[in-house]
């Protein structure tokens, strides 16, 4: 119980007046940063980092990590209201969050998203509190082959669970891989597919593509449908929050599954993005009404949000314990630790007890503060849906353009965003799924790197992917998930052919 008393001391540190103040300021700033696409958590933290140099390290990390929590919460808002993911990990939230908003259930969707975020983050913090050293050493077992297996698992769970035409999923996935390959290849050190253009050298930034594919294409579709305002007059008061909460216990299995997936992906460090997609995929696979996903199923909001936040929070664990950042924001925080003169690594927990436990305590409190603040804003944000679309659309477009530009201060990215807006429009018209493309773009180059690193080490032998229990299990699970869908479809088809009458009766 040594850890427990340390945690209590941590709470004392975090609960001092000025630290609570920093927490609230951080959360509010984080929400703003999360709402604006392109600005994002890592940038928000990086911009504010210099302000903290003069501060005591504990207060500084509390302020910065609160920005992180705020950004994690805020990312869901634009995803649900406008189909524009403010953060990479809220892409999967748009799949069902936006349809819910369109059906006039924006407040429910926001409440569900925020609550799921909180549950996810809380499970991550509990993990950090109690099993930190144990879990940290587990992350060390991940070499290139194991990393590749995790990415393979994510891809396979996505293909296997897809209800869309599988050929279309695969086509979309391949386009994503192709886009991910543009830029500097870190294994050979050569530039690929840049055609001599210095703009393409940077590769396709994930957020530029996503803002175009989701946000801009949605505006195009809405304009085509004649600028009708789709969001219905939702009843907006805080009772919605309570009503939504009353319905949540029914989804305990989804929440639990997503939390576990998220914690695991955060620690390994597969990251919050992969976790959110996997959480969504699994929820759909295990749901009794998989067909209602993508059409405004509340589980489709709960699952990715819980997973993303469990991962985002657990990602801080490898950073603190090993000095490996599990996410981009964690990487910036890591830079901060070094500037404050703290050396992350196995000894941080021993040498800087007050700092570590102050931070962990602030994770509990920061998330709680975040939840209260965002829930209070639900009516405000949901009210945006009442404004006629013809007024909102130009604003959204401008925010999208600013977001795309901010990522690397490049006008070219705005053109790219518009181009991908058209691509997204065509995809939606032809009924191609966008999610696999996005997934492949985010994880494609990392999957490729680890695949080639593994083969470099093994001298080209594929046996490295079955070399130990961990990697074999992961690859086996991936193949199982990949084949699950087609096999079950086949079994279902056979059964229907065998007993047409019974099947009809069951319907």
């Amino acid at each position: 119980m040594d850890d427990f008393s340390s945690l209590m001391t941590g709470f004392q540190v975090a609960l001092s007046w000025h630290n609570v103040g920093f927490m609230v300021i951080g959360v509010v700033l984080g929400i703003i940063v999360g709402v604006l696409p392109g600005l994002g958590g890592p940038n928000g933290v990086a911009i504010l980092l210099p302000l903290t140099f003069g501060m005591d390290p504990t207060s500084a990390i509390i302020l910065l990590s609160s920005i992180y929590w705020g950004a994690l919460f805020g990312g869901a808002i634009t995803s649900i209201l406008f189909n524009i993911p403010g953060e990479a990990w809220s892409v999967a939230t748009t799949f069902d969050g936006y349809p819910m908003a369109v059906q006039g259930k924006a407040a429910e969707a926001l409440t569900a998203a925020f609550t799921a975020s909180f549950i996810g983050a809380l499970s991550g913090v509990i993990l950090i509190t109690f099993v930190a050293p144990l879990v940290a050493s587990f992350a060390l077992r991940f070499g290139p082959a194991e990393f590749f297996a995790v990415f393979l698992l994510t891809f396979c769970s996505f293909i296997g669970m897809g209800r869309e035409n599988r050929a279309k999923i695969l086509a979309s996935l391949c386009i994503g891989f192709l886009l991910a390959a543009v830029g500097l290849d870190s294994i050979s050190g050569d530039l690929r597919m840049t055609f001599g253009s210095t703009e393409l050298m940077r590769g396709f930034d994930f957020l530029v593509v996503v803002i175009g594919l989701f946000g801009v294409s949605e505006i195009l579709l809405t304009v085509e449908e004649g600028l009708v305002f789709k969001g219905k007059q939702a009843k907006i008061d805080l009772k919605v929050v309570l009503r939504t909460w009353a319905g949540l216990p029914r989804y305990w299995a989804t929440l639990l599954r997503s939390a576990i997936v998220g914690m695991w992906m955060g620690v390994t460090p597969g990251g919050a993005i992969a976790a959110s997609f996997m959480g969504y995929g699994l929820a759909k696979r295990f749901s009794r009404q998989p067909d209602s996903f993508g059409k405004g199923n509340i589980e489709g909001v709960l699952a990715p949000e819980t997973a993303a936040h469990a991962a985002g929070t657990s990602a801080l664990l490898p950073m603190l314990a090993l000095g490996i950042p599990g996410s981009a924001t964690a990487a910036v925080l890591l830079g901060g630790l070094l500037v404050w003169g703290l050396q992350p690594g196995p000894l941080l927990f021993v040498e800087q007890k007050q700092f570590v436990w102050g931070l962990i305590a602030s994770m509990y409190l920061g998330n709680l503060a975040g939840l209260v603040i965002v829930l209070a804003t639900v009516p405000l944000f949901a009210a945006i849906m009442r404004i006629p679309f013809s007024y909102v659309a130009p604003v959204i477009l401008i925010v999208c353009a600013i977001g795309a530009y901010t990522i690397s201060n490049s006008i070219f990215d705005i053109w790219l965003m518009l181009g991908f807006g058209l691509v997204g429009y065509v995809f939606k018209k032809l009924d191609y799924p966008l999610a696999p493309l996005v997934l492949a773009l985010v994880l494609g180059d990392r999957a490729e790197d680890s695949f080639r690193q593994a083969l470099l080490g093994s001298g080209g032998s594929l046996k490295v992917f079955a070399a130990n229990g961990l990697v074999t299990t992961l690859v086996g699970l991936a193949l199982l998930l990949l084949l699950w869908g087609p096999v079950m479809d086949g079994v279902g088809a056979l059964r229907r052919r065998g007993q047409p009458v019974a099947a009809k009766a069951a319907e």
């Binding site: 991940f142 870190s186 210095t198 950042p325 070094l338 196995p346």
Partner: protein, 332 residues
């Protein structure tokens, strides 16, 4: 109103005094100064930039704020192109390493350090041969002998392809007449973690990149790739200091390599603007916090500006051109 006037007239007097004291030609920044880091946040270059930013702001060495911007894409070429395009802008700086020669050599991008304005060299960074703490190797000779005897090539991790670590491993292959499997990771931190998880047999990290795992008992250094031992004699881990680590050459592995860490401005800036920053970084290099930073990261203090820096750059570029073409890393 009266107070405002008073303040205003005081300001006038002060500025008149200042104008009288300072030489008329002295240049001062008029807006925020941007330090471009051509690597991602959290890396060694980024830490250096942020340390410098902290020192300048805490000690109010300039009147304008300092901003650190990361432009890591394409192995740092994104940041270098940005500086190339900013010719004449005196409010921009870039942190550099040997990448300033290697990125253009490996990618054929139209970049050349001669188009920039050298400001100051801040330090040199050493490279060491690290192994897992539990591995049987006691010296570099043990490691090289094991590499010779091994049925499959031993794996050495490093940062990026065709860069410093890759060159070092090539040097080791040539010196020992053996073959290694070089595995490029995206950062030194990752190479260190992979070594502590036993996924590679060694890495060639800078002191700072493996420091945490050395102190945590997961990895340990065998030797330093330099002609002399390092200077820091304060105990770090295992009862050893940086100065206790033998040179690789003394263990029969005749490879030595160091990397510059310095600051550049864009091209076409005036002499006065350059002089301002030279003065600024000289002050930084004499600051106590900077010395702490050097000691913490076991960097070799080696401040140079003016001709001394340019001479160093010319020699270093020739050295890299030779190494890169020997290793076959030059873009065709």
């Amino acid at each position: 109103m009266k107070q405002h006037w008073l303040a205003f007239s005081t300001l006038l007097t002060v500025s008149a005094l200042l104008a009288g004291v300072a030489p008329a030609a002295a240049w001062e920044p008029t807006k925020a100064i941007e330090i471009v880091v051509p690597f991602s946040a959290g890396g060694a270059s980024d830490q250096m930039a942020r340390t410098i930013q902290g020192i300048i702001q805490k000690n109010q060495l300039t009147t304008q704020p300092i901003i650190v911007v990361n432009k890591p894409a394409a192995g740092g070429a994104e940041g270098m192109l940005d500086i190339q395009k900013s010719a004449g802008d005196p409010h921009k700086l870039i942190t550099t390493s040997s990448g300033i020669f290697m990125t253009p050599m490996a990618t054929k991008l139209p970049l050349n350090w001669q188009d920039y304005t050298p400001v100051a060299m801040m330090a040199q960074d050493s490279f060491l041969l690290w192994v897992n703490a539990k591995s049987p190797y006691k010296t570099a000779a043990d490691f090289m002998a094991a590499a010779k005897a091994a049925p499959a090539p031993l794996k050495i991790g490093g940062t990026s392809s065709k860069r410093e670590d890759n060159l070092l491993v090539f040097g080791m292959e040539k010196s020992g007449g053996v073959k290694f499997a070089y595995i490029p990771y995206t950062s030194g931190g990752q190479a260190s973690t992979q070594l502590s998880g036993n996924h590679v047999d060694a890495n060639t990290n800078n002191p700072a990149e493996d420091l945490a795992n050395w102190r945590g008992g997961a990895t340990r250094p065998l030797c330093v790739f330099a002609e002399q031992k390092m200077a820091y004699s304060e105990k770090v881990a295992d009862g050893l200091s940086w100065a206790d680590i033998p040179t690789c050459a003394s263990q029969g592995l005749n490879v030595s390599y160091q990397m510059l860490r310095g600051m550049f401005m864009p091209g076409k800036v005036t002499k006065e603007q350059q002089a301002f920053y030279v003065e600024l970084f000289k002050k930084v290099s004499q600051n106590a916090e900077w010395k702490d930073y050097l000691a913490r990261n076991a960097l070799v203090p080696d401040y140079r500006d003016g001709d001394a820096f340019v001479q160093f750059l010319k020699l270093d570029e020739d050295k890299h051109a030779k190494l890169m073409s020997d290793a076959g890393f030059m873009a065709k």
